[in-house]
Point group: C2
DNA sequence: ATCGTATTACGATGATTGTCAAACTACGAT
DNA sequence: ATCGTAGTTTGACAATCATCGTAATACGAT
């Protein structure tokens, strides 16, 4: 199982927790960091597969690697190599099984909080992403 | 504002963020700790107002105080004094406005993960707390 | 083989965090 | 006024964490 068939194997190995091993604590901890939350937001923002470098994060390369690893080990993203680039993708489905609605709620909350900067919570919140 | 009318005033003051000031990062960070998550789960588990001591946490008094403060300063719980006891209550509505569905998703995920201990993720998850 | 690009690995460092014990404060009851 | 209960504050400690720079690795192109 999980033969990684079709994926261009490049020799490097990346450890991922299985869907059933994803821990709530780890996920919350991973999402609690502004930079990591930003990465997740960008990943969910249309571009599903992105190389690390494409994020233009305000940190050094090694710090960037660190954050991606935390996300991967928490089970939030799946990574694979493509040439020298490492692509990242949200594990949306696995997360939905283990913690239904959580990722969506976090992303939605981040979007709501973003609106704060301009229109500081005077209005009762426009209820983004309503059902 | 916030006259705390009707509440037995006891001289001590507790700082709470306003609903509009609740930060996603702080909430996620607060919930990422097992002990704090346990507190939140117990609070949501029927008993809405509980004295700190009623939780029987596996930590010292000072550590307990610390965790309750983190939860309070993140905006997750509201606390008030009643005699020598300090009561805690989930700020469910404030949280719902700022991050709709988040608290519920976290609690639900924790419940799902709990079932792991016995029935380790072989089944496709019984979808706890359905709509 | 060599070079450039993308990323990792290896310390190192300063900040935060979870934990505790001991001393202290606030309140209710005696 | 005294005592017990409930919680706070302070200071300390070890562990974790985010951050960096530098050296090393893997891969594609030349």
């Amino acid at each position: 199982m999980a033969d990684t068939a079709g994926v261009k194997r490049t020799g490097r190995r990346l450890e991922h927790p299985q869907a059933g091993e994803i821990r709530v604590d780890a996920v919350l901890h991973a999402l609690a960091d502004p930079i990591r939350l930003r990465i997740v937001r960008e990943l969910s923002d249309g571009h599903d597969d992105m190389a690390c470098i494409a994020f233009a994060l305000p940190v050094s390369k090694s710090t960037s690697t660190h954050h991606f690893r935390v996300l991967r080990e928490a089970g939030i993203i799946r990574q694979y190599y493509e040439g020298t680039s490492r692509m990242s993708r949200l594990r949306t489905e696995d997360l939905e099984v283990r913690m239904p609605g959580l990722l969506g709620a976090v992303l939605n909350a981040a979007r709501i909080a973003e609106g704060d900067d301009t229109a500081a919570g005077t209005e009762p919140v426009p209820a983004v992403g309503g059902r």
